[in-house]
Amino acid sequence: MAHITIQDVRKSYAMTEVVRGISLEVQSGEFVVILGPSGCGKSTLLRMIAGLESISSGEIAIAGKVVNDLEPHERGCAMVFQNYALYPHMTVAENIGYALKVAGLPRVERTAKVADVAASVGLTEFLDRRPGQLSGGQRQRVAMARAIIRSPKVFLFDEPLSNLDAKLRVQMRHEIRRIHNQFKATSVFVTHDQHEGMTLADRLVVMNKGTIEQVGSPAEIYDHPASVYVAGFIGSPAMNFLPAHVSVPRRGVVLESGQLVPLASPPNLSDGHLVHLGIRPEHTTLVRAGAGTIDAQIDMIEELGASRLCNLLFEDIPICVLTEERPDLATGTTVGVDLHPQRLHLFDAATGRRIPNDPATVPASIARPISA
């Protein structure tokens, strides 16, 4: 077990900078998920920790030791790859034990250890098979076992679940979390899937365009997204945004339609400051026309089984409402939408950063001074 310290790490290829100055501390035994869209530099960051990619500038230390110039196998990291990267010509047992074989461990000890690890991930009966004869989930387990057997200081996961079907993905997610709870190894998990991120992480790191947008617990990030980007990226269906400006005398924000949305604790901003008002679909309620905060027209209703996703249009701005009711509403019908006042988010229109409108519940780490 070891903590990882990443200090102002950068990576550039020829002209483009892929990772632009990332600093991050991963505590010993922590499960950190790096979440971001493809091309945001998250995999590159992980590969730099692993030593598969050189570091252009900055410093990475594992267990207090700078590893910039160490070979991958000297860093004490084990990695689970997206396509598993199992050795196709070796049996499951040989695959799992290969690192030990390279390290020169005698056959007897090796066999015993392989059997141990295989049992812990439920692979005992497949030890003599080749990877080609295994299902996707079993291959994934072999990849996990191959990482576990080295008793690494750090586990690195590079989108390991993206090749599995939906059901298996949930199952393997639990498995990974269970293994983490068992071995308590420091883990860094890269994914573009927010469900994986939310469910697995002790701490979530949201990346965008080579920088970190926000670091925090999944709940913290869901409740208090630090920017429009994070707010739109985390949560499904995505958050609704309405352009508005601050009205100090009326203690709220005024939408472009001229409608006032009162705020419980108005932000400390000048009158007329342009903002985005954010509200999650699950924090809105469909009501009679005129009875809600705003009125909007039904565009389309999508059935999700447990709930319904109502796509509305408010002054040509699409708005999503998630409701458990089954209203029978035709396209074009005008309905009211109630925006839950405690769940409103405010973002600066110019910078995209969050404006703490409810300072009591905003953690200090993301409550930034507002330069208006």
Partner: protein
């Protein structure tokens, strides 16, 4: 393009059968000629059915051509070419594909260009090199003036010489130095996923370990294919052994076979002993056929067992 009409089926099958017939007919004629006495072979109209002299003729050919010794020589050369080729091309392709350096592409193209220069094209310079393997170095030293410099300074004249004529090295090395194998391996190595290389790196395997533990086991069908091609290629060599070997004890089997067919001028009008020559041909053909048939099982196994 799949068409299903009886006429087309008939036509395509006819073409196939005709092709097969054209391929097998000469082989059949060899067997027929090898199984008759000389009078029957040269009789007009020719005999088209096998006779009963096959065993006698085979024995005569074996003895007359010293085929036993020639088999040993040729086998050594063929194995040498095969092994040398596999090792050399595997290592060069490994260097070209898995290491990043500036000379990677130039080196690859230099090797690739040799595909356009088969041994037959460069046979004269190759002979010159075989006569003195250090000739290129000597030329280089002469051209750069080092020979002159050393001579002027110390009075010693540099004369490098290593004669490869009439030796196994002279027979084998020029046949090893072609790009086919390197190219084959390169194409295969390029299909190895990057993640596999990285996984091995994470597991602590160095480059040579990776070559030995991953690439060689993964390319065993490649090795089988290359081995087959190279064995047959070396076994059938005629021009190069004819040139480089004057000592009969190093003669290759194809050269010896040609001697079984006496020229009219040499026999003084006597009829060439075609039945013996054909019997010799049958014997000489055998090892390549055995190798191809035996290795074919490996091809098929390798193709079915795609564990990637």
């Amino acid at each position: 393009m799949i068409e299903r009409t009886p006429i087309l089926n008939f036509v395509t099958h006819s073409i196939l059968v005709f092709g097969l017939f054209m391929l097998l007919l000469p082989m059949y004629l060899v067997i027929v000629a090898a199984s008759h006495s000389l009078q029957d072979v040269v009789a007009v109209p020719p005999n088209l059915l096998p006779g009963d002299q096959l065993w006698v003729n085979l024995q005569a050919a074996w003895a007359k051509g010293h085929l036993g010794e020639r088999f040993v020589t040729t086998f050594i050369v063929a194995m040498g070419v095969m092994t040398g080729k596999i090792v050399l091309s595997c290592i060069t392709a490994f260097g070209i594909v898995f290491f990043d350096h500036r000379l990677k592409m130039p080196i690859f193209w230099l090797i690739f260009i040799t595909l356009m220069l088969p041994l037959e094209v460069r046979i004269v310079p190759t002979y010159a090199v075989a006569a003195n393997a250090f000739l290129p170095f000597q030329t280089l030293l002469d051209l750069t003036g080092i020979t002159w410099l050393v001579n002027a300074l110390s009075g010693v004249e540099i004369k490098l010489e290593l004669n490869l004529l009439n030796s196994y090295a002279g027979l084998i090395l020029p046949l090893v130095a072609t790009a086919t194998g390197t190219f084959l391996y390169r194409q295969f190595f390029l299909t190895i996923p990057e993640e596999l290389v990285e996984a091995a790196k994470m597991d602590g395997a160095g480059p040579l370990r990776f070559l030995w533990d991953m690439l060689i086991p993964l390319s065993r069908t490649n090795i089988a294919a290359l081995a087959t091609i190279m064995f047959v290629y070396a076994w059938n060599q005629y021009l190069w052994p004819l040139l480089v070997v004057t000592d009969q004890s190093y003669a290759m089997i194809a050269v010896e076979l040609s001697r079984l067919v006496p020229k009219y001028s040499a026999t003084g009008g006597e009829v060439p002993k075609w039945h013996i020559a054909m019997a010799g041909t049958l014997i000489v053909m055998l090892p390549p056929i055995v190798v191809v048939v035996a290795m074919q099982r490996w091809f098929v196994r390798g193709l079915i067992n795609t564990d990637k």
